[in-house]
């Protein structure tokens, strides 16, 4: 978010707003994983449901046809064994079926004729029927009548369970010799056991299929997760680049997304190049102006007069402009967020070494202290500029000693403290020195462009600069800066 903040400050508000909108658009879409999983789940649901219905229907048919076969055997048996006595009376066979002997047992037979109405009239029946009549719907009777000799199967209600016993029945219409009207041989079986079997089968199949479906969905989730892992990895790597933990993508990606990684790296490189080119360009221009300004200043000094005064003043203004725009260019380049990270310890060391050499006459000793694994989230040049200016200032105004210390204060902040043993600054002077435009030729401790550059740089990094009194007597400068995650 620091980088976003930077961009907003240094470029334009609208850019930040556009980025935020784009973020929302990206986050608003349903996830790819979700899409793949839903698709797979929907498809499996359809297939499994279809399978469940087909299986149940098939079982149902098979079970019913077995019962039908038994009923047909019974009816055919009745037909085969039945005799017609000389008076035209039909005599049922004397075979014994245990269940047909018990009242309302669920197994019934009946020999009937159709005296004209829709209801068959029983000529003989099983004891189990007691005084009830096996009925048949008109459609079944019609079908039996139309196809004498062929069994017609149908569902009906039996006498048990107060007349609501579900029955599977068969009707076989035949013409018996010696008996003019057609005779109806009927057999029925309670189908509640059958129904229970069918239901149980449907339930078991359903449960098995649901488990199978859940397994398939879990498999798909796993497959999608594992399959898309490289994409998640890439997301993490890009985040690392943004957070400054990496400069580019380094993992090996699968064939399909390797081109994407390559393009991302090329984009990062290109970005870096643009930043670098822009910086170099502006730097060259600004630096090229410095020699002519120096020449004009010296020349004006050598020939005092009104013209020389104007030249001196204007050259001074030009110099400030050049410095100002150099800093602006650097800030703009910085806003691009190359995500670089800089080791703090070596920077402090080289600055200490350099300052001890610059202020060798004075015998300045610069001590520094920083953990090896402390990283500044930003460009090396900027950290050099920040630490260099503050430490140079301290070296200028110290008696003999300068102390620099960097440490971690939170997961993404570091604190750079610089102390000296000079005479320090009064509290009201401290705010004064941070203001821009202070003169280049410093006349009081801490004043001058040095600290205002540091102030500007620290602000560009979302950092904080504070001045206080050092326990060594001089000025203490505290800088809070972004820290890269180790």
């Amino acid at each position: 978010m620091t980088l976003l903040g930077l961009a907003a400050r240094t470029t334009a508000r609208s850019t930040a707003a556009a980025v935020a909108r784009a973020d929302q658009a990206v986050l608003g879409r349903r996830s790819l994983v979700g899409r793949l999983v839903w698709l797979a789940a929907g498809w499996s649901l359809m297939v499994l449901a279809g399978m469940g219905f087909a299986l149940t229907a098939f079982f149902d048919q098979a079970a019913v046809s077995r019962v039908d076969q038994e009923l047909n055997d019974l009816a055919t048996g009745l037909y085969a064994e039945a005799t017609v006595d000389p008076t035209g009376q039909i005599k049922p066979p004397a075979f014994v079926d245990e269940r047909a002997q018990q009242a309302y047992s669920g197994k019934y037979w009946q020999i009937a004729d159709l005296p004209g109405g829709p209801h068959p009239r029983a000529l003989a029946d099983s004891r189990s029927l007691w005084d009830a009549v096996l009925n048949a719907p008109k459609s079944a009777l019609d079908a039996a009548r139309n196809k004498p000799g062929a069994p017609v199967y149908y569902d009906t209600l039996g006498p048990a369970q107060e007349g609501r016993e579900p029955l599977r029945a068969v009707a076989l219409m035949v013409y018996l010799p010696g008996h003019a009207p057609p005779v109806l041989f009927m057999a029925a079986e309670n189908r509640s056991r059958l129904d229970k079997d069918i239901n149980r089968f449907a339930l078991t199949t359903g449960i098995a299929l649901v488990i199978l479906g859940a397994g398939i969905v879990a498999g798909v989730i796993l497959q999608v997760r594992v399959g898309l892992q490289p994409l998640f990895d890439m997301g993490r790597e890009v985040a690392d680049v943004r957070k400054g933990r990496a400069l580019r993508l380094t993992r090996r990606y699968p064939l399909e997304i390797a081109p994407l990684a390559q393009e991302l790296n090329a984009l990062l490189d290109h970005n870096q190049q643009v930043v670098e080119r822009q910086r170099t360009h502006v730097g060259n221009l600004a630096h090229a102006l410095k020699t002519p300004i120096s020449v004009m200043l010296t020349e004006a000094q050598a020939h005092p007069g009104p013209l020389a005064d104007v030249v001196t003043r204007q050259s001074g203004a030009m110099r400030e402009q050049v410095e100002h725009h150099l800093r602006r260019a650097r800030a703009a380049a910085r806003a691009q967020g190359s995500g670089e990270r800089t080791e703090v310890a070596p920077v402090l060391d080289e600055i200490a070494r350099t300052l001890e050499r610059i202020f060798g006459d004075k015998g300045v000793r610069v001590d520094w202290e920083a953990p090896d694994d402390l990283f500044f989230l930003g460009e090396r040049q900027d950290l050099q500029e920040i630490a260099g200016n503050v430490m140079e200032n301290a070296s200028k105004w110290c008696r003999h000693r300068v102390w620099a210390e960097a440490r971690e204060i939170s997961a993404n902040r570091l604190l750079l403290t610089i102390d000296d043993d000079g005479s320090g600054l009064a509290p009201d002077q401290r705010q004064e020195v941070l203001k821009r435009g202070a003169r280049l030729d410093e006349s009081a401790p801490g004043s001058g462009l040095g600290l205002s550059i540091v102030h500007e740089l620290a602000q560009a990094y979302g950092g904080r600069l504070a001045l206080s009194e050092s326990r060594h007597g001089g000025l203490r400068v505290e800088l809070e800066l972004p820290k890269a995650e180790g």
Binding site: G283, H287, A288, K290, T291, P292, I293, S294, V295, L297, T298, E299, Q301, A302, S315, R319, D349, E350, I351, A352, R353, T354, E356, R357, I358, G360, D361, V366, D367, W368, E369, R380, Q381, Q384, E385, A387, G388, N389, W403
Partner: protein
């Protein structure tokens, strides 16, 4: 006093020549890197003013070549580039002072005077133990003429050991010399620094005297050049 001025801008060099002549310096002038390198290596100058942006060979390379060739004259770098990264590069290449353009001529002259005074103020500017040489004025060290890259603490450690070469120096003594009372360090860190220093200057140059401390010695067969 004989000065070498290296500057490619004709107007600036004309002004500087005038000011330096007025200040009483004898002046040689080079307008590109090749010429500067040649003059610096062949003539004995008391100080050099070196611009960094030069045709043919850039100023930092010229300076590095001089230092490698053993040129010890103090060098004041004159450059438009005032960023700290460039300053550090300049000093690491062997510069003694650094002035950013645009500048006032008076400031240049003052810096030059200080530089010459500093260079001539020491009777024997370099310390040597065998092939190991230390230039306290410029805070530089070299072995067989090859410059060493030392951190500020390592340099300080080496400086103290060179100053007391041949004598056994205890760890406590080194701790006391290298750190403030403020830094709460135990003497184990000294071992780490000595180890690092050994890697850079050659491990046989620092002898460990068991239970007592360390001693800096020339390698067997080496004679100390002065």
């Amino acid at each position: 006093m004989r000065i070498l001025l290296v500057e490619d801008d004709p107007d600036l060099s004309r002004q500087l020549k005038g000011a330096l002549a007025d200040a009483g310096y004898a002046l040689d002038y080079a307008s590109d890197g090749e010429e500067a390198q040649f003059l610096g290596e062949t003539e004995p100058y008391d100080a050099v003013i070196l611009d960094l942006g030069l045709p043919k060979v850039d100023g930092v390379s010229v300076l590095e070549r001089w230092r490698r060739a053993g040129v010890t004259a103090p060098v004041l770098i004159l450059t438009a580039r005032g960023a700290w990264s460039e300053k550090v590069t300049g000093f690491d290449a062997g510069a003694d002072d650094y002035l950013t353009k645009p500048f006032h001529t008076e400031e240049l002259l003052a810096r030059l005077r200080a530089l010459v005074r500093r260079a001539t103020g020491h009777a024997s500017p370099t310390l040597a133990v065998g092939a190991l040489r230390l230039d306290p004025r410029a805070a530089r060290a070299s072995v067989d003429g090859e410059p060493l890259r030392l951190t500020s603490l390592e340099y300080r450690l080496l400086h103290y050991m060179v100053m007391h070469s041949g004598r056994v120096i205890s760890r406590t003594e080194l701790v006391e010399h290298l750190y403030d009372q403020d830094f709460d360090r135990d003497s184990n860190t000294i071992e780490v620094f000595v180890g690092r220093l050994r890697k850079k200057i050659g491990s046989d140059r620092i002898e460990t005297v068991r239970g007592l401390g360390y001693r800096l010695l020339p390698l067997p067969g080496e004679t100390t050049a002065t």
